[in-house]
Symmetry: C2
Subunit: 124 residues, 2 copies
Amino acid sequence: MATNLHDKAYELARALRESDEFQTLKALHEEVEEDDVASRMLTNFRNIQLELQDKQMQGEQPSEEEITQAQKQYEMVQQHEVISKLMEQEQKMSTVIGDMNKIITEPLESLYGSPEDQGQGEQG
Amino acid sequence: MATNLHDKAYELARALRESDEFQTLKALHEEVEEDDVASRMLTNFRNIQLELQDKQMQGEQPSEEEITQAQKQYEMVQQHEVISKLMEQEQKMSTVIGDMNKIITEPLESLYGSPEDQGQGEQG
Ligand SMILES: [Ca+2]
Ligand SMILES: [Ca+2]
Protein backbone atom coordinates (compact mmCIF):
# COMPACT_ATOMS: atom_id res chain seq x y z
CA MET A 1 0.00 0.00 0.00
CA ALA A 2 1.19 3.54 -0.79
CA THR A 3 2.65 5.33 2.26
CA ASN A 4 0.16 8.18 2.04
CA LEU A 5 -2.78 5.78 1.96
CA HIS A 6 -1.35 3.89 4.92
CA ASP A 7 -0.84 7.12 6.91
CA LYS A 8 -4.33 8.42 6.11
CA ALA A 9 -5.91 5.13 7.15
CA TYR A 10 -4.07 5.28 10.50
CA GLU A 11 -5.14 8.91 10.97
CA LEU A 12 -8.76 7.91 10.38
CA ALA A 13 -8.44 5.00 12.83
CA ARG A 14 -7.04 7.43 15.42
CA ALA A 15 -9.91 9.88 14.80
CA LEU A 16 -12.37 7.01 15.22
CA ARG A 17 -10.73 5.92 18.47
CA GLU A 18 -10.80 9.49 19.83
CA SER A 19 -14.39 10.19 18.73
CA ASP A 20 -17.16 10.67 21.32
CA GLU A 21 -19.09 7.86 19.62
CA PHE A 22 -16.24 5.38 20.18
CA GLN A 23 -15.32 6.58 23.69
CA THR A 24 -18.96 6.26 24.82
CA LEU A 25 -19.17 2.79 23.27
CA LYS A 26 -15.93 1.73 24.97
CA ALA A 27 -17.11 2.99 28.39
CA LEU A 28 -20.45 1.15 28.09
CA HIS A 29 -18.68 -1.99 26.91
CA GLU A 30 -16.42 -1.89 29.96
CA GLU A 31 -19.35 -1.23 32.28
CA VAL A 32 -21.09 -4.38 31.00
CA GLU A 33 -17.88 -6.44 31.10
CA GLU A 34 -17.35 -5.56 34.75
CA ASP A 35 -20.90 -6.61 35.68
CA ASP A 36 -21.10 -10.42 35.75
CA VAL A 37 -24.91 -10.58 35.49
CA ALA A 38 -25.10 -8.04 32.65
CA SER A 39 -22.17 -9.65 30.88
CA ARG A 40 -23.76 -13.11 30.99
CA MET A 41 -27.15 -11.74 29.91
CA LEU A 42 -25.60 -10.04 26.87
CA THR A 43 -23.52 -13.10 25.91
CA ASN A 44 -26.62 -15.25 26.13
CA PHE A 45 -28.61 -12.80 23.97
CA ARG A 46 -25.85 -12.63 21.33
CA ASN A 47 -25.58 -16.43 21.20
CA ILE A 48 -29.31 -16.77 20.61
CA GLN A 49 -29.11 -14.14 17.86
CA LEU A 50 -26.18 -15.96 16.23
CA GLU A 51 -28.03 -19.28 16.32
CA LEU A 52 -31.08 -17.71 14.66
CA GLN A 53 -28.83 -16.12 12.01
CA ASP A 54 -27.14 -19.47 11.34
CA LYS A 55 -30.53 -21.14 10.85
CA GLN A 56 -31.69 -18.38 8.49
CA MET A 57 -28.49 -18.66 6.44
CA GLN A 58 -29.02 -22.41 6.14
CA GLY A 59 -32.61 -21.79 5.06
CA GLU A 60 -34.01 -23.45 8.21
CA GLN A 61 -37.13 -22.20 9.99
CA PRO A 62 -36.54 -21.51 13.72
CA SER A 63 -39.01 -23.24 16.03
CA GLU A 64 -41.74 -21.31 17.88
CA GLU A 65 -39.91 -22.00 21.14
CA GLU A 66 -36.69 -20.48 19.76
CA ILE A 67 -38.53 -17.37 18.56
CA THR A 68 -40.26 -16.96 21.93
CA GLN A 69 -36.93 -17.42 23.74
CA ALA A 70 -35.25 -14.82 21.49
CA GLN A 71 -38.06 -12.33 22.12
CA LYS A 72 -37.87 -12.88 25.88
CA GLN A 73 -34.10 -12.34 25.84
CA TYR A 74 -34.54 -9.23 23.71
CA GLU A 75 -37.04 -7.76 26.19
CA MET A 76 -34.68 -8.58 29.06
CA VAL A 77 -31.67 -6.81 27.52
CA GLN A 78 -33.88 -3.86 26.48
CA GLN A 79 -34.95 -3.45 30.10
CA HIS A 80 -31.35 -3.52 31.35
CA GLU A 81 -30.26 0.12 31.46
CA VAL A 82 -26.56 -0.33 30.62
CA ILE A 83 -27.04 -3.07 28.02
CA SER A 84 -29.80 -1.12 26.24
CA LYS A 85 -27.53 1.94 26.20
CA LEU A 86 -24.69 -0.20 24.84
CA MET A 87 -26.89 -1.58 22.07
CA GLU A 88 -28.12 1.90 21.19
CA GLN A 89 -24.52 3.11 21.04
CA GLU A 90 -23.55 0.15 18.86
CA GLN A 91 -26.31 1.22 16.47
CA LYS A 92 -24.85 4.76 16.39
CA MET A 93 -21.35 3.37 15.78
CA SER A 94 -22.70 1.21 12.98
CA THR A 95 -24.14 4.34 11.34
CA VAL A 96 -20.80 6.15 11.72
CA ILE A 97 -18.93 3.22 10.13
CA GLY A 98 -21.48 3.08 7.31
CA ASP A 99 -21.12 6.82 6.65
CA MET A 100 -17.31 6.49 6.76
CA ASN A 101 -17.41 3.62 4.27
CA LYS A 102 -19.60 5.61 1.89
CA ILE A 103 -17.03 8.43 1.88
CA ILE A 104 -14.02 6.11 1.53
CA THR A 105 -15.42 3.94 -1.26
CA GLU A 106 -16.71 6.90 -3.28
CA PRO A 107 -13.70 6.73 -5.67
CA LEU A 108 -14.58 3.11 -6.50
CA GLU A 109 -18.27 3.93 -6.93
CA SER A 110 -17.31 6.65 -9.39
CA LEU A 111 -15.81 3.81 -11.49
CA TYR A 112 -18.39 1.08 -11.00
CA GLY A 113 -21.51 2.97 -9.98
CA SER A 114 -23.28 2.54 -6.64
CA PRO A 115 -25.57 -0.49 -6.10
CA GLU A 116 -28.58 1.87 -6.59
CA ASP A 117 -27.18 3.03 -9.94
CA GLN A 118 -26.72 -0.56 -11.05
CA GLY A 119 -30.31 -1.36 -10.12
CA GLN A 120 -31.48 1.52 -12.31
CA GLY A 121 -29.17 0.38 -15.09
CA GLU A 122 -30.78 -3.05 -15.19
CA GLN A 123 -34.22 -1.52 -15.61
CA GLY A 124 -33.39 1.35 -17.98
CA MET B 1 -20.42 12.18 12.59
CA ALA B 2 -17.70 14.21 14.36
CA THR B 3 -16.07 16.81 12.07
CA ASN B 4 -12.60 15.32 12.53
CA LEU B 5 -13.81 11.86 11.58
CA HIS B 6 -15.57 13.27 8.53
CA ASP B 7 -12.45 15.21 7.45
CA LYS B 8 -10.16 12.21 7.94
CA ALA B 9 -12.48 9.96 5.95
CA TYR B 10 -12.42 12.47 3.07
CA GLU B 11 -8.62 12.72 3.28
CA LEU B 12 -8.37 8.94 3.02
CA ALA B 13 -10.78 8.89 0.05
CA ARG B 14 -8.62 11.52 -1.65
CA ALA B 15 -5.44 9.51 -0.95
CA LEU B 16 -7.16 6.45 -2.42
CA ARG B 17 -8.23 8.36 -5.52
CA GLU B 18 -4.69 9.72 -6.00
CA SER B 19 -2.95 6.39 -5.38
CA ASP B 20 -1.13 4.58 -8.22
CA GLU B 21 -3.33 1.54 -7.56
CA PHE B 22 -6.51 3.52 -8.19
CA GLN B 23 -5.18 5.56 -11.12
CA THR B 24 -4.02 2.37 -12.89
CA LEU B 25 -7.40 0.74 -12.22
CA LYS B 26 -9.23 3.80 -13.58
CA ALA B 27 -7.12 3.91 -16.75
CA LEU B 28 -7.68 0.19 -17.43
CA HIS B 29 -11.38 0.55 -16.72
CA GLU B 30 -11.62 3.39 -19.26
CA GLU B 31 -9.60 1.44 -21.81
CA VAL B 32 -12.09 -1.45 -21.59
CA GLU B 33 -15.11 0.90 -21.64
CA GLU B 34 -13.90 2.53 -24.86
CA ASP B 35 -13.47 -0.85 -26.59
CA ASP B 36 -16.91 -2.21 -27.56
CA VAL B 37 -15.76 -5.82 -27.98
CA ALA B 38 -13.81 -5.88 -24.70
CA SER B 39 -16.61 -4.11 -22.88
CA ARG B 40 -19.23 -6.61 -24.05
CA MET B 41 -16.92 -9.56 -23.28
CA LEU B 42 -16.40 -8.33 -19.72
CA THR B 43 -20.11 -7.58 -19.14
CA ASN B 44 -20.97 -11.05 -20.38
CA PHE B 45 -18.37 -12.64 -18.07
CA ARG B 46 -19.60 -10.67 -15.04
CA ASN B 47 -23.22 -11.62 -15.74
CA ILE B 48 -22.32 -15.31 -15.89
CA GLN B 49 -20.37 -14.96 -12.60
CA LEU B 50 -23.35 -13.21 -10.97
CA GLU B 51 -25.77 -15.91 -12.14
CA LEU B 52 -23.51 -18.63 -10.69
CA GLN B 53 -23.25 -16.69 -7.41
CA ASP B 54 -27.05 -16.33 -7.26
CA LYS B 55 -27.47 -20.07 -7.74
CA GLN B 56 -24.89 -20.86 -5.05
CA MET B 57 -26.60 -18.48 -2.60
CA GLN B 58 -29.92 -20.20 -3.26
CA GLY B 59 -28.28 -23.58 -2.70
CA GLU B 60 -28.81 -24.64 -6.33
CA GLN B 61 -26.29 -26.69 -8.30
CA PRO B 62 -25.26 -25.06 -11.62
CA SER B 63 -25.62 -27.32 -14.66
CA GLU B 64 -22.59 -28.80 -16.44
CA GLU B 65 -23.34 -26.55 -19.40
CA GLU B 66 -23.28 -23.44 -17.19
CA ILE B 67 -19.96 -24.46 -15.63
CA THR B 68 -18.44 -25.12 -19.07
CA GLN B 69 -19.75 -21.76 -20.33
CA ALA B 70 -18.30 -19.96 -17.29
CA GLN B 71 -14.90 -21.64 -17.81
CA LYS B 72 -14.87 -20.71 -21.50
CA GLN B 73 -15.71 -17.10 -20.69
CA TYR B 74 -13.01 -17.04 -18.01
CA GLU B 75 -10.40 -18.31 -20.48
CA MET B 76 -11.52 -15.69 -23.00
CA VAL B 77 -11.19 -12.75 -20.60
CA GLN B 78 -7.87 -14.13 -19.31
CA GLN B 79 -6.53 -14.12 -22.87
CA HIS B 80 -7.66 -10.54 -23.46
CA GLU B 81 -4.67 -8.38 -22.55
CA VAL B 82 -6.50 -5.32 -21.23
CA ILE B 83 -9.28 -7.22 -19.43
CA SER B 84 -6.80 -9.57 -17.75
CA LYS B 85 -4.77 -6.53 -16.62
CA LEU B 86 -7.97 -4.91 -15.32
CA MET B 87 -8.91 -8.01 -13.35
CA GLU B 88 -5.39 -8.27 -11.93
CA GLN B 89 -5.57 -4.61 -10.90
CA GLU B 90 -9.01 -5.14 -9.32
CA GLN B 91 -7.42 -7.90 -7.25
CA LYS B 92 -4.69 -5.49 -6.12
CA MET B 93 -7.29 -2.84 -5.27
CA SER B 94 -9.27 -5.39 -3.32
CA THR B 95 -6.14 -6.15 -1.23
CA VAL B 96 -5.57 -2.42 -0.64
CA ILE B 97 -9.20 -1.96 0.51
CA GLY B 98 -8.88 -5.00 2.77
CA ASP B 99 -5.67 -3.66 4.33
CA MET B 100 -7.29 -0.23 4.78
CA ASN B 101 -10.31 -1.78 6.48
CA LYS B 102 -8.08 -3.74 8.88
CA ILE B 103 -6.40 -0.49 9.95
CA ILE B 104 -9.64 1.48 10.25
CA THR B 105 -11.60 -1.12 12.20
CA GLU B 106 -8.74 -1.85 14.61
CA PRO B 107 -10.35 0.31 17.36
CA LEU B 108 -13.52 -1.81 17.17
CA GLU B 109 -11.54 -5.05 17.19
CA SER B 110 -9.77 -3.87 20.33
CA LEU B 111 -13.27 -3.87 21.93
CA TYR B 112 -14.80 -7.00 20.42
CA GLY B 113 -11.77 -9.05 19.39
CA SER B 114 -11.01 -10.05 15.81
CA PRO B 115 -12.91 -12.99 14.26
CA GLU B 116 -9.78 -15.14 14.88
CA ASP B 117 -9.75 -14.17 18.56
CA GLN B 118 -13.40 -15.10 18.86
CA GLY B 119 -12.73 -18.49 17.30
CA GLN B 120 -10.04 -19.12 19.90
CA GLY B 121 -12.36 -17.90 22.65
CA GLU B 122 -14.98 -20.47 21.75
CA GLN B 123 -12.45 -23.27 22.04
CA GLY B 124 -10.52 -22.06 25.10
CA1 LIG C 1 -26.30 2.29 -14.22
CA1 LIG D 1 -11.52 -14.44 22.70
